[in-house]
């Protein structure tokens, strides 16, 4: 996009001097949000699971029995944690997401005023969207959120015919594409912003490149045994939620509205929050015209279409007729289950809202004298923090690192020697551990232990049970429901987790040999099932090929980008 103060032609010293305040503010916001991560350990909250060293198992690279919700994220984590400990990866991923979101938004605003850039940076890094997706632990989605302003900028550079922009589009889309949702947001952004009928070859090349980044999860979805349909009960369970008296549509307009009350900062329930949303919308309305004038013709309309689609997807579950259409789609259209939690698609809207609001502030202060303008800009800079202060310090203490008990490593080592299917009990997708007080987290065993770990995939939202898709789990549940012992499920290993509110009936564990008994975990071996490592099928190799192709695209883009720089460093 247009960047008038730090243009390519500016001397390097001036460029650094101009960019410094933006990076400083972004760093301050990052520290403020993630301060608790200065303590050692792993922050484990809802879907946020990091382990010391994630095994490179076939089930994490190409899940055979589940939908590929974390493809290729898990494969990349397995690769990276072979070299870097998981706690460091967590800090780099979360810190990088908040920092780059702020800097990216600041740089995207077409303005000459530094204060307006800072306003956009703080506003984009302090949205309810970022807070809620952080507190529900979906860090992969935060990477997509952070990559979005950089991707938009690179896409607009490409439209303008700037040198090296094609490589930058691919490089900016790559972190977004580590999850299916992020990959789709990146692809939609590129299709809408870059596609140009007069430059078909270039358009096809860049769209094809970003589509290839989506190939791993698409391939995994085609080869999984989980099928393509999802439980329609999830449509109502994961629809946008009202945060206060104003209803879900106003919550979405303020970039909030995640389905989970536990992932929503308490401050969002305040009765004055809709007024802050209204102020933001008015500012954005005031700034929209400025954005349209400062961007190349047609570009603002494309951005608005992108944001409009994002809003429509987010609101579909609460619009009249939308929920029924969505229920039909998740049953009959393969992959439509992705649309159930539509609020996650709101990122492009959040970006446009922030950019327009920042320009609205610029337009507002242009009419008043300098001293007053400074005061107004400071007030607007503080507004996001004043409205939602409980994002600070890891959501006011919700994000706090803990250490895995020593039991976990012992069990991982014992299991590694004898490959075979592992069943985690009690059957529950999410656990509330006494060593991670007051928090619920997706069971980390599938990412901690080498091999295929079976955990329950039924999601319980209040009183609603949203069925999972894993056919092997259905079989295990049937066996246990019939009152048969766990040994009849045909798994090689059984890990029983202790000190949890629900307990495992010891009678079901008969015929099993205890090989490790610790305060938090007991590991049982099933002597009726010999150790075996199932060779990967053709489907798994297809996913690996797709992953390889995506990595090749990223490497080619990286090499191209480095070649175009005056110096590689």
């Amino acid at each position: 996009m247009v960047e008038q103060t730090t243009g390519v032609g500016a001397p390097p010293v001036r460029r650094v001097r101009d960019a410094l305040p933006l990076y400083a503010v972004a760093a301050a916001v990052t520290v403020l949000v993630l301060a608790p991560l200065a303590a050692p350990g792993y922050a484990l909250l809802y879907d946020m699971v990091f382990v010391p060293r994630q095994p490179l198992s076939w089930d994490l690279v190409a899940p055979a029995q589940t939908l590929p919700r974390a493809v290729p994220m898990d494969a990349l984590m397995s690769l990276v944690t072979q070299l870097v400990p998981g706690w460091a990866v967590q800090r780099v991923a979360l810190g990088g997401a908040v920092l780059l979101a702020a800097v990216g938004a600041g740089r995207l605003v077409p303005t000459e005023r530094l204060a307006v850039r800072l306003l956009a940076a703080v506003a984009y890094a302090w949205t309810p969207y970022l807070a809620e997706r952080l507190l529900i632990g979906q860090w992969g989605l935060l990477l997509a959120y952070a990559a979005l302003p950089w991707l938009v900028r690179a896409a607009l550079d490409l439209r303008a015919g700037r040198d090296g922009a094609l490589a930058r589009v691919v490089l900016a889309a790559a972190p977004a594409a580590i999850t299916p949702t992020g990959g789709l947001i990146a692809l939609g952004t590129v299709v809408l912003l870059v596609w140009d009928r007069t430059r078909l070859r270039r358009s096809a090349l860049v769209v094809g490149g970003v589509a290839l980044l989506n190939a791993p999860w698409v391939t995994a979805a085609l080869v999984t045994g989980a099928g393509g349909s999802s439980d329609p009960a999830g449509v109502a369970a994961f629809a946008a939620r009202s945060e206060n008296w104003a209803g879900p549509l106003v919550a979405l307009a303020g970039t909030g509205g995640v389905w989970s009350a536990q992932a929503t900062p308490s401050s969002r329930a305040a009765p004055l929050v809709p007024l802050a949303t209204l102020l933001l919308l008015i500012l954005a309305g005031v700034g929209a015209g400025l954005l349209r004038r400062r961007l190349p013709p047609g570009t603002a309309v494309r951005l608005a279409v992108l944001a409009g689609i994002a809003c429509l997807l987010a609101a579909l579950g609460v619009l009249p007729g939308g929920a029924a259409a969505l229920r039909w789609a998740v049953v009959h259209l393969p992959g439509a289950g992705l649309l159930r939690d539509g609020q996650k698609f709101l990122a492009p809207y959040a970006l446009l809202l922030v950019v327009c609001a920042a320009l609205g502030a610029e337009r507002l202060v242009a009419r008043i004298d300098r001293e007053v303008a400074g005061v107004v800009l400071v007030g607007l800079l503080l507004l996001p923090v004043a409205v939602m202060p409980d994002l600070a310090f890891g959501g006011a203490g919700r994000l706090r690192p803990v250490s895995y008990p020593a039991d976990w490593q012992v069990v991982a080592e014992r299991v590694a020697g004898e490959p075979g299917e592992i069943l985690a009990l009690p059957l529950s997708a999410y656990q509330a551990y006494p060593w991670n007080p007051g928090r619920v987290v997706l069971d980390p065993l599938p990412r901690y232990l080498p091999g295929t770990v079976l955990t329950d995939d039924t999601l319980r939202v209040g009183d609603v049970a949203v069925a999972g898709e894993n056919p092997r789990l259905r079989e295990v549940r049937r066996v246990l429901a019939e009152g048969l012992p766990v040994s009849a499920t045909g798994v090689r290993w059984v890990v029983v987790q202790h000190q949890l509110p629900s307990e495992v009936d010891p009678a079901t564990l008969r015929d099993l040999e205890a090989v490790h008994e610790g305060p938090f975990l007991t590991l049982y071996r099933n002597p009726a099932v010999p150790p075996e490592s199932n060779p990967p099928g053709l489907g798994a190799w297809a996913v690996v090929m797709a992953l390889g192709a995506a990595l090749l695209v990223v490497m080619a883009a990286a090499i191209s980008a480095l070649h175009r720089r005056p110096t590689a460093w």
Binding site: L32, A35, Y46, I136, A237, R241, W259, S260, A261, Q262, A263, S267, I368, D369, E371, V372, V375, V376, V378, G379, L382, L383, V385, A386, V387, M388, P389, D390, L391, A392, F393, G395, A396, G397, R398, R400, P426, S428, A429, Y430, Q431, A432, P437, G438, R439, V440, D456, T458, L459, R460, V461, G462, D463, L500, P501, S502
Partner: protein
Amino acid sequence: MRRALTLVVSGMVAALLGILALGGLSAAATATDKEAANEAKSVSEAAKRAGKKDPYAPVVYGDR
């Protein structure tokens, strides 16, 4: 006169936002592990009183 009034009003609004932001930040900063656990406990108890499922019980992903 009008300029001075605008400056005073916008200054007061900015100061109010500053106080709200700082107050909120200090509250967030002083939230301890124990307080987070207590908050979760009170949410659990409220859910039980209302006859709803406990959002912090292990089988519940979340509550709407």
